[in-house]
Symmetry: C2
Subunit: 774 residues, 2 copies
């Protein structure tokens, strides 16, 4: 009898323990408490991180929750727990949830911020990160590689997060597939807001990469749905899908300078996405297709102007029997029920064809295998302005079947294909970016082509059933359609918005007697304007520019002169991460051994901008000196004089030839360069990487006189490897060089209207032999 | 009221039509009747082909049956409808069944005998061929390519068929995947008997090929289960799987000189198969692994002696970033719960490693990428005789994890690996080829390694559940296990057996006066022996050898002399398809312009054999002349004298360098060659194809005297491209050549114990530069 009693008691205790553990809430205030809470956590437990700043926390979230009864690690108040410094969180186990954290002011000392594994033997499955933010948690140097989020294991999820501001090398989010534990993973990447990722100036800065070429044969089944990608400008690939059976549904790609790219792997589904461009950008892309069996349905493309690799629909040429990491032939792809509105040359075929480059590339790099068994059907192209070339082909189009596509080109004068019929369509303009076909249009209703398995295209982009009414294009019904495309509230963390209120800048008056200019700059708020009265401002130390600052003279007639006499090889203006300097109407003079501007030598974690106008700069060793890892989005010098210096603008520090470069947009307009002895401009990108599409150099309406005399290369404007170069309407006089410029004809390098007087010549080489990057 | 009546009547008529059609049987007697029957057939109809020979019938079986209610085309009596001549059958439509046909005495004028489509736009789905036979329905010439059975579409089936005797180029059965209509096909290839396919002498003679490198990324899902592969000796690949997710279950590979090869594609399942070898053959293989993610479980390997590409388990080295059609690295493969009994070096890793061949091969051919993330667990190796090298590695084994494998090597002296533990196992020998572990052996019971997803290995090779008792190796229970491996009745057509009763040969006495020798040969039955009495037999026309015939002298002392004086460039013995000639104790003389033996110039649809012993052959232009497309399985000359002829044995007609050659086994033993002016032996294979493993030349204990004087190449025994060459214990005297032989060191070319007197030398080149085949 006694025995039974003991047994029953134990059972009761066990049951009640189970009961207690399910509701247990453990609040922790520091890393030690957190560690101990994790170690003892049971299914159903909630570990609460106290509000405040958590610095240098390295969280190993190891545990075994249960389905419907996870272990949760969450912020006391979502958004009020700040993870800063050198921090990360790694998951090991099952059914673990992290919620409400805000990563900022720091970076990971590991290779990841969030990782769904501890190590090779300790992997996460069924784990989740939600309602959290990672903002500019970026490595100190651009060339230091990390991935902010790494997926491993199976059935893990990232949802309702805001992720933005990665400047360094490496995709923001990476799904890893190397090992059977990680395939058939069905990871969910949903309802996130991938905010701006700045241009990186080189490859390896995708927002999402799923697998790599080595694991491109795996069945992956990642679901990327209902996310907003806003200005994800890192590189030409916003998403690089490199495995099989991934699905991309109902995402919005908003003004992002890249494409959704099926880089490796096959049989992916791209359905119901919006790709939104604008009038200003030539870089906002659509979908680029490589490999086999992808279905591209119900997508909506608005005002995309990019070309070739980033064209609205780019179907590539492949390499015959391609090596694993290069370009397979495109076959068996279906493009059906999509709509292109006001896009330039929306359909581009055999993109990347380079049969004419066999002199500079090995045979295994020649993309001569044309797309095959491609079906393009039931699509609509609608243009408010005529487009001469709605279909652009870089090779013969013999493997593509066009069926029942309609174009309304507002003009009948364009290149025509069988199966792309010119018809007038009535569209209702709902918003600036959203055009919905008007009701009851027999042309687009009664004309659908019944392709193989087209019955599986059951719904339109808004989820309307196609059973009753099956329109061509992405939108099948005007009723039951959303009336706006983008509602930011649907994406990312509910407690965070990246829409900051605009504030008017302060204008701060400064005279040469007011005190040190450097202090004034330091005190100013981001965006402020320092207005200097006439006079000489002597500087002996560099001015740090780590925010947006304008320094201008009070009026165009006052002579504001800044004289820098700091240490040798230091800059007058030290461009720090996020520095954005405008000089307007300033005379800036050095003492022959200094630099006018330079980046930091290291820790350039984010980019900078420099705008010089109506100014005069002279007597420097360098006008601009940039270091490895630094990156300027824009360097613009207009209506200015640059003279009597040893070097001009040097953006040539990325010498490891991996495709990186130091500035995206460099503009010299209406300037005069005189007596710059060596590098007048030295802008460099090394390494053959056909998917990088920068930088950009515009030199126009300027004069170059007596420059380059000591330049060893005998080239005045050095632009090696730069993709977009325009040299137009300049006058070159008495520059003792061999070449004013040596241009790369194959890329977008042009010259026009220049006068060359005793200054060598401009040579154009069609092809440039470069080191292969991969 | 009237209206309703009409409507109801129509409904009734429609219903009754439906009813009638279901039971309709239409018997047809000729092609015209058949065509018309097919044209009008409704679901449920049976079209009966009348018994007898149907010659030159080209059947387009087009129709729409229904699920459970197919249209059937069947033999009146299964096996009594013979399809002969130039015939084929192609399917177009759905739910069509063909049953009971016997294809023989002919070949297809198309590229297929059975094809599951009519053309690109007319594909078969859910169609079936059952209970039928295709026997030696092979093209007239070996180099003419066809596929006997081509799968297209989806859900088609070949079951209970016997398929044997394809001699020409092209896989016997080919699954095609080019186009979305053909992927995810779930074709069923089940319960068939793939009977002997003769050695072809070159590549492209697989028994089954599923896809090709161009479609190797497709999800295919072909099921090859419960088939018997008997002596499928066509080439080194019995089955070449070149797509994803195929399954190979419970097949028996019986004395077949090749392997089940995962050539392209990934994630296939190889479960529960038997691979049965014997003591005699060095060519019977197991499983060869390339690519990613295959699971090899519950397989049983008995007495396999082949090496490298055909070793019992061959895990290959890949080419880094391999081109599409070459060798991907092996990764993420699982080999668990298999049993190897009395196999030689059963586990071979990095097969195909050829880093040392960079001087003769381009970089893209170098297989230096070692297997990675391979798990070998819970397997048993059991040897009755010790095997010194159970694991053979051609490169570092750093990517393979061994866990809980057991070897009983009957000797502890062998190369050891962690995770392959030497233990004594008790096995019950059930049949010659079947060893089952005895009951209650804790060593193999309590030691299973719980690898990732090993819980999916639910059953053993005999279908016994592993839930209660989970033994290492393929067999988990001795109870409930089959007691024999092969029951031929379970495979192929129920009305057909390939086991012919053995008959005693007739011995037919012949004298030189009896009449024409040629007539006697023609009259003889297959296998008969012609016994010639002493004397001279004059021949003026070739004797046709198209069956198995022995011509021998009555006794060793009688001088039987056959004198051939036919037309110039004709043979004394014309070797026809299936010719198998033995000459024993015969003197064969020509008149200088004839051949002793030759193949047909064309239409050598099948192979031949030639055995010469104790004989003397002289005064010919060629001893043996072979033509393109001809193939001898064996040419054996022993204890004989060959002399005073212009050329000896020429097997060098496959000059298009695609890897083909004219004979598999050539043996010269205890012979004397005298005064052969040009090609003493000319045995040639051209083209680099690393997977071809022939031919075989053995020259031993023979004398070569005063030969090769007019030979332009200055080589006495020409063996270029032949894989296995052994020249041993011969004496070469006074042969005015530069080389007796020029051997290929890398391959199995050896020489030993030869005496060379005034005869040049034997040179060995390690590597041979050859034209790439693919």
């Amino acid at each position: 009898m006694k025995k039974y009693f003991v047994l029953i008691s134990m059972v009761l205790i066990l049951i009640s323990c189970g009961g207690i553990s399910k509701n247990k809430i453990i609040k922790v205030n520091d890393a030690v408490g957190l560690k101990s809470a994790i170690e003892t956590a049971q299914p159903g437990n909630e570990i609460i991180l106290a509000n405040g700043i958590w610095k240098d926390v390295k969280i190993h979230f190891i545990g075994k929750g249960e389905k419907g009864n996870p272990i949760t690690l969450r912020a006391e108040i979502p958004g009020k727990v700040f993870i800063e410094g050198e921090s990360f969180i790694k998951f090991g186990g099952e059914y673990l949830v992290v919620s409400g954290l805000y990563f900022r002011n720091g970076y990971t000392p590991s290779k990841t911020i969030i990782e769904f594994r501890i190590d090779k033997n300790n992997i996460a499955n069924n784990c989740r990160v939600t309602n959290s933010v990672i903002e500019e948690f970026t490595q100190p140097d651009r060339y230091m590689k990390d991935h902010w989020i790494e997926f491993w294991g199976r059935n893990n999820q990232l949802d309702h997060c805001y992720i933005a501001g990665k400047s360094n090398q490496g995709p923001t989010l990476r799904v890893n597939l190397s090992g059977n534990e990680h395939i058939r993973n069905y990871h969910q990447i949903v309802n996130n807001h991938f905010g701006p990722r700045p241009r990186k100036g080189g490859p390896k800065s995708e927002t999402i990469q799923i697998g790599d070429s080595y694991t491109s044969m795996t069945p992956s089944h990642v679901n990327v749905s209902n996310n907003l990608f806003e200005k994800c400008n890192g590189e030409v690939e916003i998403i690089s899908s490199k495995s099989n059976f991934n699905e991309f549904r109902n995402n919005i790609f908003y003004e992002s300078e890249g494409s959704l790219v099926m880089r490796h792997g096959n049989y992916c589904i791209i359905d119901g996405n919006f790709f939104i461009g604008n009038d200003n950008s030539q870089f906002i892309g659509g979908i680029r297709v490589i490999n086999t069996g992808h279905w591209i349905t119900n997508n909506y493309f608005y005002k995309l102007k990019a070309e070739e690799f980033r064209s609205p629909l780019a179907i590539m040429n492949g390499i015959p029997k391609s090596p694993l990491n290069r370009y397979n032939q495109v076959t068996d792809v279906v493009v059906a029920h999509n709509t292109w509105i006001d896009c330039t040359s929306p359909w581009q075929f055999s993109v990347g064809a380079n049969m004419n480059k066999s002199s500079v590339l090995p045979q295994r790099e020649i993309r001569s295998a044309r797309p095959k068994r491609i079906l393009i059907a039931n699509n609509i192209i609608f243009n408010q302005q005529p487009d001469e070339l709605p279909i652009k082909a870089y090779d013969k189009v013999d493997g593509v079947t066009f069926r029942n596509n309609i174009i309304d080109n507002n003009d009948n004068n364009f290149n025509k294909y069988d199966g792309l019929d010119s018809k007038s369509i009535s569209m209702d303009k709902i918003t600036k970016q959203l055009f919905i076909p008007s009701e009851n249009q027999s042309e687009i209703l009664e004309n659908t082509y019944p392709g193989f398995e087209f019955e599986t295209i059951e719904k339109d982009i808004f989820g309307n059933s196609r059973t009753k009414q099956n329109y061509l294009g992405a939108i099948s019904q005007s009723t039951n359609s959303n009336k706006i495309i983008i509602n930011k509230k649907l994406y990312g963390a509910d407690w965070y918005s990246n829409e900051k209120p605009k504030t008017e800048p302060n204008v701060i008056r400064v005279t040469s007697n007011t005190g040190l200019l450097a202090e004034k700059v330091a005190e100013a708020d981001d965006g402020d304007i320092l207005e200097l009265s006439g006079g000489v401002y002597n500087l002996t130390e560099s001015i740090v520019i780590n925010k947006s600052i304008t320094i201008r003279s009070m009026d165009a007639t006052s002579n504001v002169e800044i004289r820098y006499s700091g240490a040798k090889d230091t800059p007058a203006f030290e461009m720090n991460p996020k520095g954005n300097l405008t000089l307007d109407n300033i005379i800036l003079k050095g003492d022959k051994t200094e630099y006018a501007f330079s980046s930091l030598e290291k820790n350039m974690s984010k980019g900078y901008n420099l705008w010089v106008k109506n100014s005069q700069i002279s007597n420097f060793k360098y006008i601009l000196k940039s270091y490895r890892g630094s990156f300027a989005d824009t360097i613009s010098i207009t209506n200015s004089v640059i003279k009597n210096s040893l070097n001009g603008i040097e953006l040539a520090a990325e010498t490891d030839d991996k495709g990186d470069y130091n500035a995206e947009f460099v503009t010299i307009s209406n300037c005069r360069f005189e007596n710059i002895k060596r590098n007048v401009i030295n802008f460099y990108r090394g390494g053959y990487d056909e998917s990088t599409i920068g930088g950009n150099l515009l030199v126009e309406n300027s004069q170059f006189t007596q420059c380059g005399g000591d330049e060893k290369s005998k080239i005045l404007l050095k632009t090696r490897g730069i993709i977009n170069v325009s040299i137009a309407n300049n006058t070159f006089t008495g520059n003792p060089v061999k070449y004013v410029a040596l241009l790369w004809g194959e890329k977008n390098n042009t010259h026009d209207g220049n006068r060359l007087i005793k200054s060598g010549k401009i040579r154009v080489d069609q092809y440039l032999k470069q080191k292969l990057v991969y």
